[in-house]
């Protein structure tokens, strides 16, 4: 068990290195000269060639690529991501940590909606396979996969906020502000999970142990809930857990529709303003979250289900 976890953790390290290297290459490919930017940040009125050369030396921009990469990684580990190009008075870390909670709250509330809705719906779709309920749900699920999230968001704002005047149109500040955006985010992911749970349950129903339980004369509801659902839940919880970073990344569009002050909005604004350090850190953060969550739930799964450990080793 322990050796599996250690092995799994070690395997994540090269992945993290690759991601960080990509991010580093990214910032080094941009057209603007970091030395010039540094001078602008210091509000130097007249930027001369000499000043640029001096700053290049000062910032160690003339060092070999690899050394600069290592220095950058070192700074990142110290949580020093530099300053924003557009607002030199703000650090990247400050910007990210300012926006992170909003995105996290949005992602979590969407996650709750996804779980609360997709579990029972998926469950009943499997139990009553091909019933009217199942067919209607499948129809709806199908439509949601074809709907652009931003359009759904716009329609929700128009219908619920403008026409019915039930909820605020955008921004943040209260629970009411959270409802529409998290619903919109959830809607794009919910279909995946309904399908996942439904199919998983159906597969489980074909298993031998179900047959055995039937033979033993257990009550149908007991079999469904105690055995099949319980078994399917394992897979689903892991899948949902792994999708947390996906959700956090998926809020980009919705945040921009609802003016939700999170990372996604920061990211788009930074793209328009060519604020490269912010974009770089954002990509690094989401990439790292991905690796970490995958790792975490892989381990959780292996603890819950020892069969998998053997497969891997």
């Amino acid at each position: 068990m322990k050796s599996y976890i250690v092995k799994r953790i070690l395997s994540a390290i090269p992945l993290l290195l690759m991601i960080s290297f990509l991010c580093f290459v990214f910032i080094n490919m941009i057209p603007s000269d970091p030395a010039e930017v540094a001078l602008r940040v210091r509000q130097t009125p007249v930027i001369t060639e000499d000043a640029i050369l001096q700053v290049r030396e000062e910032l160690g921009l003339n060092d070999p690529y690899l050394i600069r990469y290592l220095r950058w990684v070192g700074n990142c580990l110290k949580l020093d991501f530099g300053v924003s190009y557009t607002n030199p008075s703000r650090t990247v870390l400050g910007e990210i940590s300012r926006c992170f909670p909003a995105t996290f709250v949005l992602a979590m509330s969407s996650l709750v909606i996804v779980i609360v809705l997709s579990l029972p719906i998926g469950f009943f779709c499997a139990v009553y396979k091909d019933s009217l309920f199942d067919r209607i749900v499948r129809g709806i699920v199908f439509m949601t996969t074809a709907m652009p999230a931003y359009w759904v968001g716009l329609l929700l704002i128009w219908l619920i906020s403008i026409q019915w005047d039930l909820l605020p149109t955008s921004g943040s500040g209260s629970v009411q502000h959270l409802i529409l955006p998290s619903l919109t985010v959830a809607l794009t992911y919910i279909s995946t999970y309904i399908r996942l749970i439904r199919n998983n349950m159906l597969e489980n129903m074909k298993e031998d142990y179900v047959l055995y339980a039937n033979v033993r004369g257990l009550k149908q509801s007991t079999i469904l809930v105690r055995h099949i659902l319980k078994n399917s839940l394992h897979t689903c919880i892991v899948a949902i857990g792994m999708s947390v970073p996906q959700l956090m990344a998926g809020t980009i569009v919705v945040e921009n529709v609802f003016a939700w002050p999170g990372l996604g909005k920061l990211c788009i604004a930074s793209i328009f303003n060519r604020d490269y350090p912010v974009i770089q850190t954002y990509v690094l953060l989401i990439g790292t979250l991905f690796v970490v969550f995958n790792l975490l739930f892989d381990i959780i799964q292996s603890i819950a289900d020892p069969r998998l450990r053997r497969e891997v080793s």
Binding site: F142, W151, L154, I252
Partner: protein, 274 residues
């Protein structure tokens, strides 16, 4: 295969429907009642009329004409994306699966990294780096999607490479490229067709989303996502503007998804047995 496809009513209907839409895009100049770029600024936000069947937008341009012309970027760009994705995925997947060893190792590690990134973030990173332009959006989409195809193709190649017909072909002295392209590729073509059809819907959504955010197709080109972006700016005063482009996206993407599902049913022999 074709016979089975033709038997599937849904597949045929969707194929027909999409073909009609595509043709409408090709013959847009003949179908559109007005020039999609011609503005009539004093007649902005006009309602439905004989001259403007769907009304006009914030510059007084004919919405119906813009919708019809909007088919072009939607179809063309998503097909281009898929062509690029499949092309790149095929080459790398075949190489990895066929040669194995270090080639495989390098390609598969790259695949791992690509797949460990959330796809949306990759698109934004690429667009941020290369600048806001629709070409970069296509490039970004190809970059994030190729890994899935490469992996699928590699798995399949592994599965088929030791099959008898491949071994036989090698025995009779066929060259490696010949084996790759004449034997291995066709045997995975049907699976790829299904996946690609489903992914076209994904590509359309993705491109329209970026255009909506202002990172994709730029004004004044009529594109549905970009039109929704403009509609958003007048949501309080003229909410009708956001109906047509949104519906169009939903319908086309749904059609592609249905076609993909139908294709899977038609082409997957296992389903037929059931």
């Amino acid at each position: 295969m074709w016979r089975r496809f033709l038997k599937n009513k849904m597949a045929v209907i969707m194929m027909g429907f999409l073909a009609v839409i595509a043709l409408a895009g090709v013959f847009a100049p003949l179908l559109a009642p007005n020039d999609p770029y011609a503005n009539d600024i004093l007649n902005k936000f006009a309602g439905i009329s004989f001259k403007y069947p769907l009304g006009t937008d914030q510059l007084g341009r004919c919405i119906l004409s813009r919708m019809i012309y909007g088919i072009r970027p939607t179809f063309f760009l998503s097909l281009l994306t898929m062509a690029g994705t499949i092309g790149l995925g095929c080459i790398l997947g075949l190489l990895a699966g066929y040669f194995r060893g270090p080639v495989d190792e390098i390609i598969m590690r790259a695949v791992d990294v690509m797949m460990s990134f959330p796809s949306q973030i990759m698109v934004f990173a690429v667009v941020a780096l290369l600048g806001v332009d629709v070409r970069n959006v296509i490039l970004a989409n190809v970059l994030i999607k190729w890994a899935w195809y490469a992996r699928m193709i590699r798995t399949n190649v592994m599965k088929y490479r030791d099959k008898n017909f491949v071994l036989f072909s090698r025995c009779v002295g066929s060259g490696e490229p010949f084996i790759l392209f004449r034997h291995l590729l066709p045997s995975i073509a049907s699976e790829m067709a299904v996946l690609a059809t489903l992914d076209i819907g994904w590509a359309i959504l993705n491109i329209s989303t970026l255009s909506f955010l202002g990172l994709g197709v730029q004004a004044p080109t009529p594109e549905w996502g970009a039109m929704l972006n403009e509609a958003k700016n007048v949501m309080t005063t003229n909410p009708v503007q956001m109906i047509a482009p949104g519906l169009a996206i939903v319908i086309v993407v749904a059609a592609f998804n249905l076609l993909g599902d139908a294709l899977r049913d038609a082409l997957d022999p296992k389903e037929v047995e059931v």
